[in-house]
Assembly symmetry: C2
Homo-oligomer: 210 residues x 2
């Protein structure tokens, strides 16, 4: 198919497709003559992935490129690809290291220890958690830490379900892609569900609301 049809089938404009190719998010079409190229189903799939990661997942174009380059590199071992993906997916908050974040890091380390999680507290997710907890403390909602256990229970439940889903995929590309998709879209899905559950819970508590 040619670029016009690719555009129609995905709802992405032709100039934007060209832009994604330039940015390395999408492989160029196969040239059939000096100025004519043909695109296939893989391009349609890739474009849908890009749009989902951009619109729903909130990743940046640069972040998507890093993930895609890692996924497409057959030399790279799976766990390295997942590492790159994790680094791009987890938002990086920069915060000048003060007393607050050190305290929060300790909380995170304790949580991991109590839960018996096999995870190092200084990986990006642990850092992100510490930053968020420190921010909570800063805004005077340190008491929110009370609910951390409930969050951890829920996170374990979700993570188990995620892994079960991912376990169905044996092929490398499928595995990596489902981890990326699941992580990014899973956040959006869980967030939306949490808000629905809030509405329900607050209707129970306050009678009726929005």
């Amino acid at each position: 198919m040619r670029i016009g049809e690719l555009s129609r089938r995905t709802g992405v404009s032709v100039p934007t497709i060209k832009f994604y190719v330039r940015e390395g998010l999408l492989p160029a079409g196969e040239l059939t003559s000096p100025n004519q190229a043909s695109y296939g189903e893989t391009h349609v799939q890739r474009l849908r992935l890009i749009r989902a990661l951009l619109d729903v997942g909130g990743l940046s174009v640069a972040g998507i490129r890093d993930v895609i380059v890692a996924v497409d590199d057959p030399e790279r071992p799976v766990h390295k690809v997942l590492g790159v993906a994790a680094n791009r997916i987890v938002p990086r908050y920069d915060r000048d290291p003060d007393a607050g974040i050190e305290e929060a890091r300790k909380t995170v380390a304790e949580l991991i220890a109590v839960r018996g999680w096999q995870a190092s507290p200084d990986n990006p997710a642990g850092e992100a958690l510490a930053t968020a907890l420190a921010a909570l403390e800063d805004v005077g909602h340190g008491g929110f830490a009370e609910v951390l256990d409930a969050y951890a229970d829920a996170a374990e439940r979700v993570a188990r379900a995620d892994l079960e889903y991912v376990a169905h995929h044996v092929a490398r590309e499928e595995l990596v892609e489902s981890v990326v998709v699941g992580t990014v879209l899973g956040d959006a899905i869980f967030g939306a569900m949490r808000r629905l559950a809030h509405v329900d819970a607050s209707n129970h508590v306050f009678g009726r609301a929005t």
Copy 2:
């Protein structure tokens, strides 16, 4: 205190503080002379809230303004304020209405019915959920829907904990602020925990990884 000290105490530069005042995120200091104003603890608090919402919560300046204006308007009933907050907090994905999203909306409505949630499926959170599910379908991971039940269990657990925390706050401003903070930072916290739990779970399944 004067603006310089406010800046030192919050780590936000003086020009940026001026910018927030112009944008209506932060009330102006109280003028003590034509070109001298004094700021108090409320300004420190408000600035910390702004930074947390921006850096960790990922809200836009315009979104924060809408939330803050609603919170600061004493005329507005609590449930309306929470509505505004929900609308700003939940990211709005625009997607041309196609067959996919209709299907996803049905899934959402069913989920709500099965769970017995007192929530309308056409509120922003329900729409966001439908969009995310449709995106999942688009990228060929429709099978992910299998795990929705686990997600819903977890969301209920988290929402219950959130409400318990919020129930401690009786004063209106405190109530609204804790809902906003809890919703926004809670997403970040849960996301980070989910990733930690993934690391743990995948260590159990695959032996060891990143």
